[in-house]
């Protein structure tokens, strides 16, 4: 029988700990495939966050560090400065990156740190059971915004790509969606470009994945995809915010 698809070499043979229908698996696969394609497996290291992807350090088939909540960009900075011959990425969720780790991501981006950051935005804290995230949409109900996110009280969701796009140093910033087959193909191109730029030592690269959380949204996976397309994408518009490589 002809094998037409298999596990990327950059993923270990360890079962994922994600819920059925979760988009983390897709994001992991896109990153792993891209690392394989660019031949970087022997020089790659990643940093896992606190959140649903806390066990990502078990899944990737190269050296991995598990960071404290929000600190992945600082940890990645330390690894990259100590091992400039290696290529480093962080994998972070919205609570990790856009709430408790705001200082770390802004300053790593501002230094133009030579790392890739993969940011999974599903508008909720998944691992702790569905609390409000900095990216939770207005009026969206979560366990800590049971009456809906009231923007007069707690403010509007943070658009991280737009925020980082105000900085001079970042080399590449793109927001992609994991909410349909065609979107995933586009997302793969963006991830591959980020890894390529990382390989070439161009600078700071940032990919945001607009994602879902069927479990904590209380929806089946298909419905969650539909809901996200209708509600997330108008607020978190996919697109290239910065691509210095395309200008050169």
């Amino acid at each position: 029988m002809e094998v037409i698809a298999t596990r990327p070499e950059s993923l270990r043979e360890v079962p994922f700990t994600y819920c059925p229908g979760c988009t983390h698996g897709i994001a992991h696969r896109l990153i792993a495939e891209s690392i394989d394609e660019h031949g970087l497996i022997n020089k790659m290291a990643g940093v896992a966050p606190v959140g649903c992807s806390v066990f990502a350090y078990k899944f990737f088939n190269f050296d991995m560090a598990e960071a404290a909540h929000g600190r992945a960009p600082a940890v990645a900075t330390g690894i990259k400065r100590a091992r400039p011959d290696m290529h480093i990425f962080t994998y972070q969720g919205d609570g990790d990156l856009a709430a408790i780790g705001t200082a770390e991501i802004v300053h790593a981006a501002n230094r133009g740190e030579h790392i890739s950051v993969f940011f999974v935005n599903n508008a909720i804290y998944g691992m702790t059971g569905g609390q409000m995230a900095p990216t939770t949409l207005p009026d969206m109900k979560t366990t800590t915004s049971p009456y809906g996110r009231k923007v007069d009280d707690i403010g509007y969701p943070i658009r991280v790509c737009e925020l980082l796009d105000t900085l001079v140093a970042p080399y590449y910033i793109e927001r992609v969606s994991l909410l349909s087959g065609p979107d995933i193909i586009k997302a793969k191109r963006a991830v591959s470009k980020a890894i390529q730029y990382n390989k070439e030592g161009r600078g700071f690269t940032f990919i945001e994945f607009v994602s879902t959380c069927p479990t904590n949204w209380g929806m089946d996976p298909v419905k969650a995809m539909e809901w996200a397309r209708e509600n997330m994408l108008p607020f978190y518009k996919p697109g290239v915010f910065r691509d210095k490589g395309a200008q050169e």
């Binding site: 350090y57 560090a65 404290a68 330390g78 100590a82 770390e104």
Partner: protein
């Protein structure tokens, strides 16, 4: 090598570079500013990394990353900044990473002031961050010793894969004394150092290497596994306690009528008072712990001779190390304490007065 007159902050920075430290991450805070400034100036001249982090929190996490990559790395701060690093120190201890942290202590609590103090003794020796762990903590009492401890701290960190703290204070950081430096590590030593942690650290696969998967991590979700991990940490700490206590004796003998205990800057002031009283006919011994974790309990207990009637502890805090002294003395004789706080430093005359009142 001849002696040079240097501030403690600069001397320890130079000594750290001599010891092979090529990565330094920190955030400015008084009274350790000369240390970060020296590193900013000198690290680029030796091909090292100096990075002024956005916060102490980030600095210690950069240390976590660099230590996880198996390289000699250091961060420094003063009391309030050390509190911010406490989270990271717990993770570093949990993940068993070697690194050096310097605390040039100032007055607290809170923002406190910028004068010398020893109020972070509990934080340094009993935890600071969450969970069951220990730092190895060295307490210098002169600029020379401060500088010498840099290489010792890195060696201990590498030997035990454990964070090591040098617990200094604003006095040692700011004052100038003659200091002689150990020779800088050679290229060959640096090369060997660069490979010593490759059985566990983050590093690239060389051509022909078997592919490795190293995890730098303090998370163990299974309580059975976590208990085993913590117990292994404590077996390591027991080895450190058995092998690495350091202390200094001054006029300790079988005829001592009193033993005085002090560490760091405080011990220098106390020593002047003890010497004066001894010339006046008293027989007082001075015990100075150099490692404050592991604490030299047994060594101190041995100093409580047959004629010792009491023990006196002096600290620049409200009484922290005195608890360890009481553990060592174990009720054999009364243990007294006096200290000053808020950055106020006692004088030899005040110590002398306190001691004289005991006779």
């Amino acid at each position: 090598m001849s002696k040079v007159l240097m501030k403690g902050n600069e001397a320890v920075a130079k000594a750290a570079i001599n010891a092979g430290c090529r990565l330094y991450f920190a955030y400015p805070i008084t009274p350790q500013s000369e240390l970060i400034e020296y590193m900013a100036k000198m690290m680029p001249t030796v091909g090292g990394t100096f990075l002024q982090a956005e916060s102490e929190v980030s600095a210690i996490n950069m240390v976590y990353g660099a230590a996880g990559a198996g390289k000699r790395v250091m961060t420094t701060s003063s009391s309030p900044g050390i509190s911010l690093k406490a989270e990271g120190m717990s993770y570093i201890a949990g993940a068993e990473l070697p690194c050096v942290i310097i605390n040039v202590q100032r007055g607290g609590p809170g923002l406190g002031d910028i004068q010398p103090a020893q109020g972070d003794y509990f934080q340094a020796t009993k935890g600071g961050g969450h969970g069951d762990y220990h730092l190895i903590v060295l307490a210098p009492s002169s600029v020379q010793e401060f500088a010498d401890m840099a290489s010792e701290a890195f060696d201990l960190a590498d030997k035990y894969r454990n964070p090591v703290m040098i617990l200094a204070d604003g006095m040692l950081g700011q004052m100038m004394e003659p200091v002689e430096f150990k020779p800088a590590v050679t290229e060959e030593e640096m090369e060997a150092m660069g490979h010593q942690h490759e059985s566990w650290c983050i590093h690239p696969n060389q051509d022909g290497d078997l592919k490795h998967h190293h995890e730098i991590n303090s998370l163990e979700i299974d309580p059975v596994v976590l208990e085993k991990h913590v117990n292994q940490l404590y077996e390591k700490y027991a080895r450190i306690e058995a092998n690495e206590t350091r202390h200094e004796l001054h006029n300790i003998n079988d005829d001592n009528e009193m033993v005085v205990v002090a560490f760091g800057t405080a011990s220098r002031i106390v020593r002047s008072a003890v010497d004066e009283l001894n010339t006046e006919g008293r027989n007082i011994g001075l015990f100075r712990p150099i490692t404050v974790w592991p604490y030299p309990y047994e060594e101190l207990a041995k100093c409580i001779g047959p004629k010792v009637k009491q023990v006196y502890v002096f600290e620049l805090n409200t009484g922290q190390m005195v608890e360890d002294v009481k553990l060592a003395v174990n009720g054999k004789v009364p243990v007294h304490f006096w200290g000053r706080v808020g950055g106020m430093v006692f004088t030899p005359e005040q110590i002398k007065e306190k001691l004289q009142a005991c006779f």
